[in-house]
Each structure stands twice: as C-alpha cells, then as structure tokens.
C-alpha cells in the first residue's frame, strides 16, 4: 500500500539518548508528515517515552538531530516550540484547584504573547477543544475531582487549545473506556485529515494503533525493529521478536486492519 505523504512536519535522524553504557535510544530515524498519524509501539522499557521526550525537545539527544517544520529543534525557544508542537504526557499534569475550563485556557499560553488575559478568540478555541474531547458537561469541575479518563481527555483538550501543527501523545487512551478510546482516536484521525495535524502517539494497544495509525514504528531495546504500514509492522514474526510472545494476526472486520491476538496454549 502506497500512502501519499504530505510535507514532513517532524523528523529525527540518528537519534541517541542515554548515559554511558546504558543507551536508552540508539540510532532511531523517523519522520512524521503533515496529516499523518504515526504510532510508536514496543515493549515496556523499550524507550518509547524517551523517544517522545527527544521529539518534543524536552530531552536533548546525545546523538542525532530533531527537525520541527524544517528547522532544527535547538533553534527554537521553548515558547516557539509550544506554538507549533503540543505534548500530552503520560501522567496528565494538571494544576490543582483549577476548573476544567481554566485548565484548557492555560493551554493558550504560548499564543497569548504578552497578553495577560484571554480574549474572545482564546475562549472560542478553548470551547471547541472542550466540545471535541467531550468535556462540555464538566467545565466547572475542579481537576482534583476528575476520573483518570477525564484527566487524560482534559490534558488532550489543553494541548489542542494551543492549536498545534504537531501533537505528541504518550498513551493517550490508557485510562479510557472503550467508548472514549474510540472517541479520542476518531478525533485525532479527523483532525489529521481536516487540519493536516501531524500526530505521533505512543501506545501499548496494538490493535487500536493498528486500526487508526497510518504508519507504525516498532522499537525494541532502544532500536528500530520495523517501520511501515500496520500491515508491514504487525506481523507474528516481528512481534515475537519484539515482545517474545506468540501472537496470531488476522483482519478486524470494520476496516480490514491487522488484528493481533495473543496465543497461549493451555498448560
């Protein structure tokens, strides 16, 4: 399957990160095009979250370079990065005591420049982010009163409020029930198609990643094991190599994407 790709929004060449002998990331190359949904998969401790840290510029790589929208990551200030790239970390860090609406509005920080207070434009964008993430019923709720799934959606809404061109997410659906898993993935898919948003997400849910991502990057022990379409990456051989378990792969009926099932013979 040949996927027509837009201009490259974010890329990493020869990325390496680690201390001394323990290299967490080694020689990873990847590129993310506008409008593309890229999934990073791999076993626990394989370096997925570290890779995301390198890509968003919060961790300086020991080796290699990251380019965001054609410029090296190092040439941007923090606020310039934030105007282009959003991050939803694994543990949604939310300010205690803030309401849901206030939290989403804080996402407008990078776009406000020296402006001290929100204007109508900020309020409209924040409202749309609340609608998109299904949080409109909770706008006056305080962050401390939210469930894990609500916190995760709020962190996403806050990142969307910054209107990024590139969005990085670390396990955005890990605390969500089935309905909200689907809702978030469809939201990301639609935003990619509509606005050309480039999304890179780390996920443990191979089937969800395989169903929605245009391409997958499988890493194991800090190195790229495979990169390509879900059909190319989600094969029993590669998954056995990465995870050390036997799986069978068939097609899920709705989209015909690969579906991974664990094989565990009865003892």
């Amino acid at each position: 399957m040949v996927v027509k790709r837009g201009p490259i929004a974010l890329s990493g060449q020869g990325l390496g990160f680690g201390y001394g002998d323990s290299q967490v990331i080694r020689e990873v190359d990847l590129s993310l095009a506008q409008g593309e949904l890229l999934g990073i998969i791999g076993p626990n401790g394989s370096g997925k979250s570290t890779l995301l840290g390198l890509l968003c510029g919060l961790l300086p790589p020991n080796a290699g370079t990251v380019e965001l929208l054609g410029r090296s990551m190092g040439s941007y200030t923090r606020v310039e990065v934030a105007r282009r790239l959003g991050l939803v970390p694994q543990n949604a860090e939310l300010a205690p005591g803030f309401t849901v609406r206030q939290t989403v509005l804080t996402g407008r920080f990078a776009l406000q420049g020296g402006r001290m207070f929100e204007n109508q434009g900020d309020l409209a964008v924040a409202q749309q982010a609340l609608v998109d993430t299904g949080l409109t019923g909770l706008t006056q709720r305080r962050t401390g009163e939210l469930s894990g799934g609500e916190r995760q959606r709020l962190a996403l809404a806050r990142a969307l409020a910054a209107e990024p061109q590139v969005l990085l997410l670390d396990e955005p659906t890990s605390a969500l029930d089935l309905k909200h898993q689907l809702g978030i993935m469809q939201l990301l898919e639609n935003t990619c198609a509509r606005d050309g948003l480039a999304v890179c997400l780390v996920s443990h849910d191979l089937n969800l990643a395989g169903m929605f991502c245009h391409r997958l990057l499988l890493i194991s022990q800090g190195k790229t094991l495979a990169q390509g379409t879900p059909e190319e990456v989600l094969t029993p051989d590669l998954l056995a190599q990465a995870y050390g378990v036997q799986v069978s792969v068939d097609r899920e009926p709705s989209r015909g994407r690969p579906r991974v099932t664990l094989s565990a013979p009865r003892p």
Partner: protein, 333 residues
C-alpha cells in the same frame, strides 16, 4: 473564578477598601485611646501634642510597615506554593525566614548593623536557604509534604542554634530586642524602614505578577509547563531571586513573622480560586490588611504591654497548618 480584567479590578478595589479600613482601625485602637474628634483633627492636620506623635510617629509607620511586610509574605507564600507544588510551602515553614534571620544576626555580629547591611546579609541568608530547598526539590520538580516539613524543621533547628550562638556572644542589653525581633516585631518601625521596603515590595510584586500565567502552568508540573512554552528553569530562578529578596528585606526589618504566607493565599484561594492573576494581587492586598490587624491585636491584647506580632500569627497559623495538613487532597488545594 476565571480571571478577567474587570474581576481583577473589582477584587483590587474591594481589598483596597479593606486595607483602608484596617489602617483606620489600627490607628484608632491602642493603649492610649484617641477620640473620634482628635482623630479627625489629626487627619486634617490640626492635632498637636502627644496624641499627634502617637498617631503620626508610632502607629502610622508601624501600620505601614505591617502592610508592606504582610504584602510581601502573602506574595512569597503564593509563589513558594506554586513552584514547589505544595500548599504547605511558606517562607517561615521552609526555613527561608530562618536563613534570612541568621544573615541579619551575623550582620550585627560583624558590625554591619545599618539597615542596608542587615538587609543585604538577610537577603544572602534567604538566597542560600532557597538554594538548598531548591536543590532538595530539584529531583522531582515538586516537594512532598513530608520532605518539606522535615527540611524546614532541620533548617530551622540549624539556624536557631546558630542564632543562639551569635546571641550568646552579644551583651545582655541587646537580648530583649533581639528576642522580640526573632518572634517578629514591628515595634521598631519608622518611616526610614517603610521607605526602604516600599520600592522593594512594589518592584517584587510587579515582577511576580508579570509571571502570573507562568505560575499557573508551573502548578500543573514542570513537564506540562515546559511543553506549553514556559522556560521552566529560568522562571524558577527569577522567582526564587525575587522571593529571597522580599523575604530577606522583610525579615531584616521585622524579624520572623510566620504563617502569613500560608494563611493568606489559602483564604484567598477559598474565595477567588487558584488563578494567579487574581491570587497574587489579592494575596498582597489581603496580606497587608491581615498583618495590620494582627499587629493591632498584638498591641492591645495585653495592653499596656505589647506582644511581638509573630506570636499572634503563630497562634492563628499553627492550627491552620495542622488543619490544612489533615485536609490535604481535598478542595482547599
């Protein structure tokens, strides 16, 4: 409450009215009772004699100093709580005030006893302690309650010992004054001190308010703040410098007044919410009123004698601290 310019103005006006009220109450009440007629005469500049001296040279400078000190302490508490991400953080509890006091005492020891010398060394003491607290908090970017309290207890124990050591080497006649000062005393207030603290307070408050939105993001966490465009390390450095300056100068002028930085921001949050664009100006204004009233209580409660104001704030603040610790995780934070 969402922060808007009109709400900010409303809040500032309301708290300024409270400030004025606290000032009038403080001028009025005292060991020597001043009648309404005399008070009116003083306001219009017609009062002569002892009453005029009491109002103009004793009560007024003392109240103005209390207001500035209270504003500084309220602001510093709010900033510490945001940056260490812990609602119990406060200059006194963290030991930063103790560090400043130590610097001030050392300045007396080495003969740098002028206002500026004392303030400079107190600033140095505060800065050193803040650096220590920062180093301890650095690994996680926030501070657990147990770490915070234990760190504060240990820092305070060390500085208390150091201060006792220095006091032991001084002559007896200074002892009473130093002990009162250690408990936070505004009795030695004069307009020179007010003139020293006023620009520091205004400047510090201006810088802190400029970073109100940064502090909003920092309370979420370092990673979130950085990913949304805050230069985390630089903002923290600036805040710690400003807070050290405010605490240092405040302590050198008025000693160890505890718990104001704890109670004031919390009472403000309970009514206005957590947005620093409202919280910071409100904490400064309310802190000012709070300390003026606390000092008035300190002056009249055992009249004709007077208490150090730090005793009053500790009587209120220590139970408040315990209550907050017990309620941690609930709606107050």
């Amino acid at each position: 409450m969402r922060a808007t310019p009109s709400r900010l103005i409303t809040v500032c006006l309301a708290l300024s009215a409270l400030l004025l009220l606290a000032l009038l109450v403080g001028l009025w009440l005292g060991t020597v009772s001043i009648g309404p007629g005399q008070f009116w005469d003083w306001l219009t500049g017609h009062l002569k004699g002892a009453s005029a001296i009491i109002l103009g040279q004793l009560r007024l400078p003392r109240l103005l100093l209390a207001a500035l000190v209270g504003a500084c302490l309220g602001l510093c508490g709010a900033v510490f709580q945001a940056i260490l991400r812990n609602p119990l953080a406060e200059p006194f509890i963290l030991g930063v005030s103790g560090g400043a006091a130590c610097g001030a005492v050392v300045s007396v020891l080495i003969g740098l006893s002028g206002l500026w010398g004392q303030a400079a060394l107190a600033f140095g003491g505060a800065l050193g302690t803040v650096g220590l607290v920062l180093a301890i908090a650095r690994r996680r970017g926030s501070m657990e309650t147990s770490t915070l309290i234990l760190t504060g207890v240990m820092i305070n124990a060390f500085f208390t010992a150091l201060i006792m050591f220095v006091i032991s080497t001084t002559t007896d006649q200074k002892l009473h004054a130093i002990l009162f000062w250690l408990y936070g005393d505004l009795a030695a207030a004069n307009l020179t001190k007010v003139a020293l603290l006023l620009p520091v307070t205004l400047g510090g408050a201006g810088v802190i308010f400029f970073f109100a939105r940064h502090l909003n993001l920092l309370t979420a966490g370092s990673v979130a703040a950085a990913s949304m465009g805050v230069a985390v390390e630089r903002v923290k450095m600036i805040m710690f410098l400003v807070v050290s300056l405010l605490v240092g100068v405040t302590v050198s002028l008025s000693g160890l007044i505890g718990f104001v930085g704890l109670m004031v921001p919390h009472l403000v949050r309970m009514t206005l919410g957590h947005d620093h664009r409202l919280l910071l100006p409100a904490s400064a204004l309310f802190g000012a009123s709070f300390l003026m009233l606390a000092d008035t209580v300190a002056r009249i409660i055992i009249s004709p004698s007077a208490l150090p104001v730090g005793v009053v704030t500790a009587f209120l603040g220590a139970p408040f601290f315990v209550l907050l610790m017990a309620k941690r995780g609930s709606r107050w934070w």
